[in-house]
């Protein structure tokens, strides 16, 4: 058993940290592409050069910690799915992954239905849908490819809570290509879940660090806040939970390529833990800050919104806990 990063992954991590220190906003994605970071999310068979759990986890943790909002998870899922289906996407193209539906928490096929090779219904909260080169759509039991200019597709854009652009997609007998059953793409989808969990880990670590920094520097009644034992003990509890979240990501990343039942247990445990800890950190970090933690000007607010978004992406703690308890697969 060995918890150390490989030399390659350490180099990747260093390079990524350098980029994130130097670039942000619109300049970030080109810099990541140039450094080959998106390619590190894909296996050689998918046209990349890594695609391991460790690589996915370290990349998205770093992005989360830096607060980067990019449509990279949809692109990773889409590129891997298309490669698996034998229809590889262009390098550098953004792909949207349309999963959530109105009227249900995370069930699929509630608001969207299939008739032959046409889709009718609605998907919601689709990151990166504007300007995507392709759209991957889930239905009750299958994965589909839809062209962004397909007939009967309406895209209604708005900002997402994590500062990405999102959209509702309205399908009216929209032509689509069936890529295969959801269960056939479980390894690809699992990588997406890992990315969201690792992103949440980076985000919540940053939120706890910011909170500790605040507690150390902000004074009340003539003392730094961390000198108040009730706050100090809650900060200690937070730091314990950050370790739990890190271990849950480690477990899942280390079992990404394990047999499906074992991998799915770790997937579910990871998303449950990250959801639970993300909610706790969101609540406690604002509370420990007080009013300043609620203002848009202060960095914490964006972290909280990204945490809530990461909790809900591809099934929240409630959804995965139920499946874990029932012994059900993650995707079926």
């Amino acid at each position: 058993m060995d918890f150390q990063l490989s030399d390659d992954h350490r180099m990747l991590q260093d390079s990524l940290r350098g980029i994130l220190a130097r670039h942000s906003g619109e300049a970030l994605m080109p810099a990541l592409l140039e450094a080959g970071v998106p390619q590190a999310l894909l296996t050689e068979a998918e046209g990349g050069f890594d695609g391991s759990g460790a690589a996915v986890a370290l990349i998205f943790e770093a992005l989360g910690r830096a607060g980067a909002s990019l449509p990279l998870i949809g692109t990773m899922i889409g590129a891997a799915a298309l490669a698996q289906a034998g229809q590889p996407a262009d390098d550098g193209a953004t792909i949207a992954f349309a999963d959530a539906e109105p009227g249900t928490r995370y069930d699929r096929g509630v608001a969207i239905s299939v008739d032959g090779d046409r889709l009718t219904g609605r998907k919601t909260m689709v990151a990166g849908a504007e300007g995507a080169a392709a759209i991957i759509v889930t239905t009750a039991d299958a994965l589909w490819l839809v062209a962004p200019d397909a007939a009967g597709l309406t895209v209604r854009p708005y900002p997402l809570m994590d500062d990405q652009r999102g959209a509702d997609l309205i399908f009216e007998a929209t032509p689509a290509t069936r890529l295969g059953a959801l269960a056939d793409f479980d390894t690809v989808l699992a990588r997406g879940v890992l990315a969201h969990a690792a992103y949440a880990l980076g985000t919540l670590s940053a939120a706890v660090d910011l909170t500790l920094d605040y507690l150390r520097t902000r004074k009340q009644f003539g003392q730094p806040l961390i000198a108040f034992q009730a706050l100090a003990h809650r900060a200690a509890d937070l730091s314990v939970e950050v370790e739990q979240a890190r271990s849950a990501v480690t477990n899942f990343a280390g079992h990404l390529d394990a047999d499906a039942p074992l991998r799915d247990r770790h997937l579910q445990a990871c998303k449950v833990t990250l959801g639970r800890v993300a909610r706790l950190v969101a609540e406690e970090s604002v509370q420990l800050h007080g009013g300043i933690g609620m203002t848009e000007e202060y960095a914490l607010g964006g972290m909280i919104r990204r945490l809530l978004a990461a909790d809900t992406a591809m099934g929240d703690a409630d959804f995965h806990l139920e499946r874990f308890a029932r012994g059900e697969p993650a995707f079926a």
Partner: protein, 393 residues
């Protein structure tokens, strides 16, 4: 012991319900339910409707133009209004300043300011908190220096809710910088149109701007606007915090939030059934409903004791803590009931399917209501108040 309403209380409740049914615009109620910002006109309009029935100031004695309701009546009014999603009565004039003026203000101040609150001539806001003070409210530094028959005010207030609509602000200001910090504070009424007053909105993490910073730069305030005695303001502020707070538990708001949650859970699908039938979600809803049932009675027990003349002690701190816990749990459950749909805060005018904006409202409400456990004395401050009393035995 009798847990039922008297016939008079029942008649009162029916009266309130009939009023709400007749007078509350459903479109306005929907905005309230979704926690959308109301316009100043919408709030003032609702105040005027209430005042036309003499119900705007339920907590004021009749001699000052109030309704003179009992604690139970006020509880009924608040619960019915909240469940109907009526706009909340803006508290700064009615619930906060009014009682202070009635207890500590001069006859002239009462005669001048109280009617203006009732008829909507003035919109008051509150100048208590300052940047850097936080829970240590008494460490405030905004200073007022006597200059002839004026005070000259310099400094900054923050977290001033709805200050953007206000023409008047009641402030705690420092009039003595020596000695115990609580003993150099005065309670001053300031016209916000005086030169030197600047209001700047604070955008919150849900995108709203309901709170403000207020700056005072050599603002001249007539000395007649001092309430009570100089350097006694802390006493008046504490009076405000421990009295006249029938609604601190927020039972009505919580009940309305529970109604809304049940409606959402019935509509959302889960494994082909309503989410409300899911044993896990149903148990969580039941858990918080049971908490609310108990708190509602805790609230009434304490109101009843206060009505018997027992002095309010740590009860309002207890109700604040439990009340915010319950509302924040309800907010969290509602957000979770929407699941993957609750990942945005605005549709930017893109009309969604029926009710899409409700999912977004769930996230926005979750974010906005983090304030409940922070403002008005954070829950940590409340715990310290309670444990301070417990330490004395």
């Amino acid at each position: 012991m009798d847990m039922s309403f008297t016939p008079e209380e029942t008649a009162f409740r029916d009266d309130i319900r009939a009023f709400l049914k007749a007078e509350l615009d459903p479109a306005l109620a929907r905005k309230v339910r979704l926690h959308h910002d109301l316009t100043k006109a919408e709030m003032e309009g609702w105040h005027a409707k209430l005042q036309s029935r003499g119900w705007l100031a339920g907590n004021w004695p009749k001699e000052f133009g109030g309704a003179g309701w009992t604690a139970i009546q006020r509880h009924i009014f608040e619960e019915e209004s909240a469940r109907a999603h009526a706009p909340r009565i803006v508290p700064f004039g009615i619930a906060m300043l009014g009682p202070v003026l009635q207890k500590f203000g001069s006859k002239e101040q009462q005669d001048h300011w109280l009617p203006r609150i009732l008829n909507g001539d003035d919109w008051w806001c509150q100048g208590y908190s300052e940047p850097g003070a936080g829970s240590d409210l008494a460490s405030l530094r905004c200073e007022a220096v006597r200059d002839g028959d004026h005070y000259v005010v310099n400094g900054q207030k923050t977290w001033t809710t709805l200050g953007q609509h206000a023409n008047m602000i009641f402030c705690l200001v420092r009039t003595n910088a020596t000695g115990k910090k609580q003993e150099g504070i005065s309670f001053l009424l300031i016209d916000m149109e005086t030169p030197g007053v600047t209001v700047r909105p604070i955008v919150l993490l849900d995108g709203t701007a309901e709170v403000n910073e207020v700056w005072f730069d050599n603002v001249r305030v007539p000395a007649a606007n001092l309430v009570g005695e100089e350097n006694q303001g802390w006493t008046y502020a504490k009076y405000l915090l421990t009295h006249e707070r029938t609604n601190i538990a927020g039972v009505g708001f919580a009940t309305a939030a529970l109604d809304n949650l049940k409606r959402v859970a019935k509509a959302q699908r889960h494994r082909g059934q309503p989410l409300s039938d899911d044993p896990l979600f149903a148990a969580e809803m039941a858990g918080v409903e049971i908490e609310l049932m108990a708190m509602s009675t805790t609230n009434l027990r304490m109101l009843s004791a206060a009505a018997q003349g027992q002095a309010p002690g740590i009860e309002s701190s207890m109700l604040k803590i439990k009340g915010t816990q319950i509302r924040q749990r309800l907010d969290a459950l509602t957000r979770r009931a929407y699941g993957g749909q609750a990942m945005a805060l605005t549709l930017e005018g893109n009309e969604g399917p029926e009710g899409a904006d409700e999912a977004l409202a769930a996230s926005a409400t979750w974010l906005n209501n983090r304030k409940l456990s922070i403002y008005g004395g954070s829950n940590e401050v409340q715990r310290s108040i309670i444990s301070g009393a417990l330490a004395k035995g």
